[in-house]
Subunit: 355 residues, 2 copies
Amino acid sequence: MARKASDNNGGKRQTTIREVAERAGVSVATVSRILSGTYPAAPATRSKVMRAVEELDYVANHHARALQGTTRKSIAIIVNSVISPHYAHVAQGVQTQAAEDGRLCQIGTSGGDAERELAMVQFMREQHPEAVILVGNVNADDEYKARMSRYAHALASVGSRLVLCGRPPLGPDAPAVVVEYDNTGGAFAATSHLLSNGHKRILFLGRRPGYTTPDARIAGYRNALAAHGVPHDPSLEVDGTFERYEGYRMMRSRLAAGPPDFTAAFAANDQIAAGARQALVEHGLSIPGDVSLIGFDDLPPAADIDLTTVYQPHEELGRTSVRLALEHARNGGPPPHTTLGAHLVIRGSVAPLVK
Amino acid sequence: MARKASDNNGGKRQTTIREVAERAGVSVATVSRILSGTYPAAPATRSKVMRAVEELDYVANHHARALQGTTRKSIAIIVNSVISPHYAHVAQGVQTQAAEDGRLCQIGTSGGDAERELAMVQFMREQHPEAVILVGNVNADDEYKARMSRYAHALASVGSRLVLCGRPPLGPDAPAVVVEYDNTGGAFAATSHLLSNGHKRILFLGRRPGYTTPDARIAGYRNALAAHGVPHDPSLEVDGTFERYEGYRMMRSRLAAGPPDFTAAFAANDQIAAGARQALVEHGLSIPGDVSLIGFDDLPPAADIDLTTVYQPHEELGRTSVRLALEHARNGGPPPHTTLGAHLVIRGSVAPLVK
């Protein structure tokens, strides 16, 4: 009942590319072209071939090995975690663009752990992806830079390439495509919006010295204070990571320490903002009546909690990473480097300060 | 500056396993054991080897090919999309359990498309995963069952296995591990909660005949109505998919059609509930004052919008899938089948009906 073709050949022998071609009524070259992902092919032809492949339970890798080097084209992406909406949306953008370009996409996670990241890069490299995209926040120390540089050279030496997405460039010696977004500009806009509404005592929630993303955002916060001539008070900067429960913890312990010495808070991402909001509400404080709140990302749950925040183009980051990587694969030359913009999204969580 | 080892050997020659062993000060067998993922190894040894591997830019797959068959152990998971919190949390559970068991995890997405799913299964099979986990809602027609049965046999024939996670079993002829959760029981509890609060006109948001997850949830809704002796009115069942914008669309068009002919709504997931909530609020209706609302999943943004919902153990689904797959890999026998429970989480979105 289960496998027609396999039952016919005893469930062991591998189907050949010739059998697939015969069943689909096309040439062996056409099957090869379609399976190796070198498009374009007419959708009807493609669908005939894929059906024949499926019916015959043809394993693409046997084909690939037989034809040496014509493995199925793919893109690999490694994120810290898929449950972060930011990483998930970037991965979705990579997936979407890869599919449009006839590539498969494999996603790996590192848990923010360097050893697991290395293991994933090596593991994924076995599939000969055209690019390995590394996404997101890191502790950009010397060890990190040396590691990325090794990845970049190792991938380049096998005809692939490293893409750093939402991570700073490595310098001229490391051949990595770089797609950044404007963390500092976005944070400057968010903080300026609070300052323009009269707030001067603005908490920053989510400081983490040494890490690229919070460092870039806190720089925007400090720049905005300086630009508006408001003194910088380091005691308003609260350390924490980018999770919702961390936002809750930071705000809760701040409120437990005494009456609020701030009138607004800039959360380094929307998850932190959501947690901080819960702590404020539980403390009997209203938003924006008592405290103005602003986030960063414009991802769920920003709309649901009516949060003013900074939009950044998550999926576009992923799509651009794929586009630039494939462009570089075609054209060679120095790896491209681009920065995508961010902008403010006004909702209902900020109010003018009434003195 | 970049690659020490590669520079030494001209950037071309592959590092050997012997060089890794020498650098780490361990035996070749130890390196092999650690790289192939056949644990246990002392963390200090493992870390020495991994550092040597990294320093020498050793490519695991060359090692694997040289040693034939001792590829790095891995688990593959294919979800419709990573931006759905449900799928992301299941994938996170798979990832976590795989890491605890010394396996790498690769994630693929299908976009709910059968052809892409097939391509992903074939692609991932090249890495010889111990299991391929397929997650989530599908149109369980005959074509689907035949396809899954082919996957199950094809994977079994190469010593791997198919795991259906949150999908119904295939029947006795198809060797698939099955991990389900109690959609019907959860929906019964949610609907009963509304009925116990006096509601009789309860919208169901997210009907999609033929699809396993909404079908199982609407069955729980109908069972609860029957159990409480409340007549079933098909006009209260609204068709739509599981996205937030769909929830918004469904509720908005319902409200546009005339005064509400319902006092409560059961959304087939939290995303739908969040969208429906926005439409209600925009229409000037309060929750739960005017309309009671209940969701399904207990994922973001449920807590942020104070939504009463049904908790299901998303990460545990993923972890259990890995555990049962590895257990089956060790012990053989008929593939295991289990169902995880769901329960109600009471928040503030349901109120008693005041007549």
